[in-house]
Amino acid sequence: MINDDIIKPENLVYKKPALLNDTPMHYCPGCGHSVVHKLIAEVIDEMGMQETSVGISPVGCAVFAYSYIDIDWIEAAHGRAPAIACAAKRLNPKNLVFTYQGDGDLAGIGAAEAIHSLNRGDNIVIIYVNNAIYGMTGGQMAPTTLMGMKTSTCPYGRDAALHGYPLKITEMAAMMEGTCYVTRQAVSRAAYIRRAKQALRKAFEYSMQGKGSSIVEFVSTCSSGWKMSPEAANQWMEDNMFPYYKMGDLKDKGSN
């Protein structure tokens, strides 16, 4: 078969989401951020909300999320995205407003803003990419770093006496009255990606229905920070992260 026979509209099974532009992504090969970006672009497009969505990008590897997805964006200070989103949503409730945050951004420096926004039920969606490390600054320990895990600032492994325990913000969010949908997802396999997309769509829909705040956690890899190949990082995540950060819905108040 020659190419012209293959490249026909009726043969199209997959394409880049319309809202994802052609700017080359700066993410490392295998990085979860790029897949999560793709899902956001797909879901917003499928919901027909390109013109009415505002994303708040974090300080972290995803700081340039605004370069890749064609909607309006506000770039936040480190950890402050939920406070920004709170105002952007309350002052313009017709818009879909979401934050995109790493684990250092959300569970570390921005824990207060995240918890209070979730608890207030600001009707925003927090997209939380947990790779258990500070990727952007070169692989330092995060609040979510697993026990025993080595990073540049815990080179002998995370030690409870010195560093305390990995923080489960998503479990905390599930306890709060202000949240309607709390879920933990992953993007390391096609099946997980499909499920994650459903979760994201549900969170966005609940937000527009005014049901409360949602948090969608993506347990993710950071092959550079973890100093592993992308493939080994995926395996390590499934073996070590999934038992501690368990996948699935922790709360779904919106369906009833």
């Binding site: 064609d70 964006w73 506000i74 770039e75 920004i84 309350r90």
Partner: protein, 359 residues
């Protein structure tokens, strides 16, 4: 409340009423003495039921200022108020707003420091307000109200300047002006802008794309050449503000041999001191800066040539006096009189300081 009705209220209450009446879209604040009446008054007035203004008690001043950032980023007229320790916490957000060129109003009803300090009045945050206060090269427009009437009037003025220059504005008040009750005529009622008006006034805002290319509100630029250009553009804007927006008031400077420079509540006390000086035959006048940044440098330099001395009266250890010295450039002696820790200077102390200059 009728238009033009003369009312008696606290400075803090006047700010709240003025905000509702001048089309403010959102207020975000955290309680702290001596300014909590702003949030309390707004909560009592329930403007969300009338004008649709959002009023939110936040979890911290860090959240307040970032809500301001978020509201400003979508083109809204948003404000917060706090007192010194709370404004210290806001500095991160203020520099981000300056960097992203976002309009917004921050009211600081100053109290004494450093640290938790005291709940009594102070002007100790002059440096912090006029020098930027956070990281990087930037300036915030700083207005210094000296009466309850100005607390009311400067809310709308602040928003006008903030949107004209896409820059944060600080109203630098203090515990005296915030807490004292005076006569005030509230500004005339002005409706909030419609969504269409916001989009027309703020084509840069993250309002949702709606038929245009995407807008990104950000203070980040990793390309050094582009970042330097951004800084140069900011500096040009600050220069324009310095040329166009200096505001001050003069009292009895025409025949004065000595000049007092004072702002806010210190200027109110200085007025009494000038009266006492003149009874003693010492001709003293006053220049009251209304904008602390941009500072009335040019006018002070002009006045310096016909003064035997200039006294800066401040409720701090001597902060504005540095700007006066920079303006005067040694042409006449400049000294400072101030009290700290929540003590405000009494008129006779100021008279004493003037007499000391004559000796």
């Amino acid at each position: 409340m009728e238009d033009n009705e003369i009312l008696l209220m606290k400075g803090n209450e006047a700010i709240a009423h003025a905000a509702i009446r001048c089309g403010c879209d959102g207020y975000f604040g955290y309680p702290i003495t001596p300014q909590s009446e702003v949030l309390e008054t707004l909560a009592m007035e329930k403007p969300w039921e009338t004008t649709g203004m959002v009023v939110l008690q936040t979890e911290s001043e860090v959240a307040s200022i970032n809500m301001l950032y978020g509201g400003a980023a979508i083109g809204k007229r948003v404000m917060t108020s706090s007192s010194s320790p709370g404004v210290a916490l806001m500095q991160e957000g203020i520099t981000y707003m300056a960097g992203a060129e976002l309009p917004g109003l921050i009211v600081n009803v100053q109290r004494g420091g450093p640290g938790l300090g005291t709940i009594q009045p102070s002007q100790g945050d002059y440096f912090q307000s006029t020098r930027g206060g956070g990281n990087g090269d930037y300036n915030v427009i700083v207005l210094a109200p000296a009466s309850v009437q100005e607390m009311a009037d400067f809310v709308d003025l602040s928003f006008t300047l903030a949107f004209r220059y896409r820059n944060p504005v600080i109203m630098l008040s203090d515990g005296v002006i915030g807490q004292m009750m005076e006569k005030v005529v509230l500004p005339p009622f002005k409706p909030r802008r419609t969504d269409e008006e916001v989009i027309a006034e703020c084509p840069w805002a993250a309002t949702g794309m709606r038929g245009r290319g995407k807008n990104v509100v950000s203070s980040l630029e990793l390309q050094p050449t582009a970042m330097e250009q951004h800084n140069l553009n900011l500096q040009r804007k600050y220069q324009e503000i310095k040329e166009k927006e200096v505001r001050y008031e003069e009292y009895q400077t025409e025949d004065a041999d000595y000049l007092i420079v004072a702002f806010g509540s210190a200027a109110r006390i200085a007025l009494k001191a000038i009266e006492l000086c003149r009874q003693k035959g010492i001709r003293v006048g006053m220049l009251r800066p209304i904008t602390l940044w941009p500072f009335p440098t040019k006018r002070i330099a002009e006045l310096a040539d016909c003064m035997k001395g200039i006294l800066s009266v401040e409720i701090n250890a001597g902060q504005m006096v540095e700007d006066i010295r920079l303006a005067v450039e040694g042409r006449t002696p400049v000294s400072h009189y101030g009290r700290m820790g929540g003590i405000v200077p009494a008129p006779d102390e100021i008279v004493g300081a003037v007499e000391k200059m004559r000796a």
